[in-house]
Amino acid sequence: MNHLIPTAIQQYVLPVLYGIVIVAILPLLAGYIVLMERKVMADMQARLGPMRVGPHGLLQPIADALKLLIKEDIIPEHADRFMFWMAPVLSVGMALLAYAAIPFGPVFQVADLNVGLLFILAVSSLGIYGIVLGGWASNSHYSLLGALRSAAQLVSYETAAGLGLVSALIWAGSLSMKSIVEAQYDRGDWFIAYVPVGFFIYLVGSIAETNRAPFDLPEAESELVAGYMTEYSGFRWALYFLGEYANMMVVASIATTLFLGGWLRPFVRYHDHFPGTSVELLDIVPSLIFLFAAAYCLRLVPRQPVKIQRMVMAAVAGLCLVLSGVMAAALLASPGVMAGIHGAFWFLAKVFAYIYGFLWFRFTFPRYRFDQLMRLGWRFLIPLSLVNVIATAVAVVVSEEWGLHPLASALIMQVLTLGVALWLAGRGEEPAAREPQVAEGD
């Protein structure tokens, strides 16, 4: 297909188109992640969650967004007006910019930079300016404390998270997001199988980076009211919110690309075909998933109490049916189209699975205290990630020099790293038992 489209269009028009699609869809997606969060939370807390706006609360995000749009816009007295205005925009802008280098599929990528990962990390770290400036410009103690906490937290955990990524990079041998996924395709296994410890480090680090529970100290409700967002309301607040969820998707995308095989479907190495066709067995899974979702929604239609809710539910069922059809039709289309559509599906599915993990932790764990957070970061995660990087490097050398199977050598080194982790965790117990007065922090 690629040869049909002139190079000029491929180079300049398509990326712009992709960019527009991302910017248009992302806020919607973020809204639905919020709905998912509320539904998951409700499920874990023996409640129903939003049920009124649309069937099963399906229209809740739209209603929330509208409400925030028409709310009064308050700027506190003595606030730095320009910075106050600038901060949330910066926060969202940087999060959106990071999507430029994320491959949602082999085709759907705005720009395949050769330093893609570095670009994403750099840009998403700039987002912290949005939080720090917002906290400072609000002219409120709670905001300031929240901003300080956020800055300190990001600096501490980005090191560990970055080193966690390095372990996967050693196996990939490239910084381009596209080549990293392709490297996993060539090896036939996702990198999570090679560096589970690295994945764990990145998981913890990414939760801390996005200020999610149990590391949500910058916006800890019971302590700092809403942290850096305390003085924000209306649409500015919505922008911060959007920024937070967009950031969650960025870190989830990074994890997906580096550890979970990006757009590749699970079981990459199996290529069994349907007899007599070129359709692979496992490729019908997305279509089946949507078919199942459509059937489930259809079953719920008659149970809706109000006519309009029945109509919306039926529309959702129809949408699932259409998506199922698209997934099925893609099987018969050219390989490029097929890889693009199914790639986007698997990529988003993994991103959502990763975000589900975030939600799960949030509703299970209490919040860390600031000094404990710092201790976990500096005394456990950073040493562990350094050991992990060295161990991974050794594993690569061993497998290349002595011909040991890469997976075997990787796993042996990972077990050793795990031993170090246990030792570090045991050592971490000591200061926790001491009096809190001697704890370092701030």
């Binding site: 807390q45 103690h141 764990f365 701030d442």
Partner: protein, 379 residues
């Protein structure tokens, strides 16, 4: 009144150092449990001084008592510790009964004991949920409210009200127990042990929970006694003092139960003590429900109460500590003076001692662990 300041170091008048800021927590703040205002002097995030400012919920309950008849005042006491209204009512009714020189009939005493212990569980559940919420665990609060709802349903079936129940009357009970009361209580108590296990799986051995509560807000036994702290806060510091055992009232002398104590007096100990207290309350209810005596539910005291001139101090073990009533009668139908010794108010005095040197995050843990209700602190 000196009640406006509950502790010595007046934060507002001290001179600030270069790195110090004053943070006003409350009276509108998500985790001050009502309208408590805490002025914190911070060095970074470390608390170097604190001052509790109370009185935002002052309604003059004690003064109102002087202008109501003895029975008319009974519903007012429900509004002090509004999450443990039944306990408040029990304390007041028993005090007036002592003033009158009478006693509730045995059946009334046992029913009172059952309802009061259920109320203790309900109050502790509310504490657990909100305390966990303050420390950042979002889920336990919903589990706690699920069980608390069962208790409130029993109250509702018994007397028609869920929160401010006015369940007891001076001299006994207004209402006979409803059909199925025993089964309801028994079913709740039998299931409740598993529910406590459920809360404990979420918290007791959770590394983050232990880290957030161990060694936080330590109150030594000497300090606790010197400050007059009572209830679970005192027992967590290692002092075995429970009015249900020391000066039995209602029907507590008939039942076997333990007084859980711990040694360190930190937030974790207070958590453990309250969890065990819920288990003990459950056992008391199970014992009491097996054998409710039959007979009258109201003593013969007449419609107009005119206690002989004199004074009485009587206290009970409310969920939060020693709840005492000091009532002076001048022989008329209205009390001359009613003074309440609220456990929350006295326990709150320990705040400054516990908070000094801790972090802002610990402050909410300490407010939570003291289990204060501002309706009772301010009255």
């Amino acid at each position: 009144m000196s009640e406006g300041r509950t502790n010595g170091s007046s934060v507002s008048t001290t001179v600030l150092g270069a790195d110090e800021i004053i943070l006003n927590m409350g009276p509108q703040h998500p985790s001050t449990h009502g309208v408590l205002r805490v002025k914190l002097k911070l060095d970074g995030e470390r608390v170097i001084g604190s001052e509790c400012i109370i009185g935002y919920l002052h309604r003059g309950v004690e003064k109102i008592a002087e202008h109501r008849s003895y029975q008319q005042f009974a519903p007012y006491v429900d509004r002090m510790d509004y999450v443990a209204a039944v306990s408040n009512g029990l304390g007041y009714c028993e005090t007036i009964e002592r003033l009158l020189g009478t006693e509730a009939p045995p059946r009334a005493k046992v029913v009172r004991t059952i309802l009061t212990e259920l109320q203790r569980i309900a109050s502790h559940l509310l504490w657990l949920g909100t305390h966990a919420l303050d420390i950042g665990a979002l889920t336990p609060v919903f589990y706690c409210f699920r069980e608390r709802e069962e208790i409130l349903k029993i109250f509702e079936k018994y007397c028609g009200a869920r929160l401010t129940t006015h369940a007891f009357r001076i001299g006994g009970l207004q209402y006979e127990t409803y059909d199925g009361f025993e089964q309801d209580v028994k079913r709740f108590c039998q299931n409740f042990d598993k529910k406590i296990d459920e809360y404990e799986t979420l918290l007791t051995e959770n590394r983050i929970w232990v880290g957030r509560t161990k060694g936080v807000g330590v109150l030594t036994a000497e300090d606790a006694v010197a400050l007059g702290v009572t209830g679970p806060v005192l027992r967590a510091s290692g002092v075995k003092w429970d009015i249900r055992k020391a000066m039995p009232y209602a029907a507590y002398d008939q039942y076997q139960f333990e007084i859980p104590t711990r040694g360190t007096g930190d937030t974790y100990d207070r958590y453990i003590v309250r969890m065990q207290e819920m288990r003990q309350s459950r056992l008391i209810c199970l014992q009491a429900i097996e054998n409710i005596p039959t007979g009258a539910i109201m003593a013969r005291i007449g419609k107009v109460l005119k206690p002989p001139p004199g004074e009485v101090y009587h206290s009970i073990e409310a969920p939060k500590g020693e709840l005492g009533y000091y009532v002076v009668s001048d022989g008329t139908t209205q009390p001359y003076r009613v003074r309440v010794r609220p456990p929350s108010f006295i326990n709150l005095q320990a705040f400054d001692k516990m908070a000094k040197g801790s972090l802002v995050a610990d402050v909410v843990a300490i407010i939570g662990t003291l289990d204060i209700v501002l309706g009772e602190v301010d009255r």
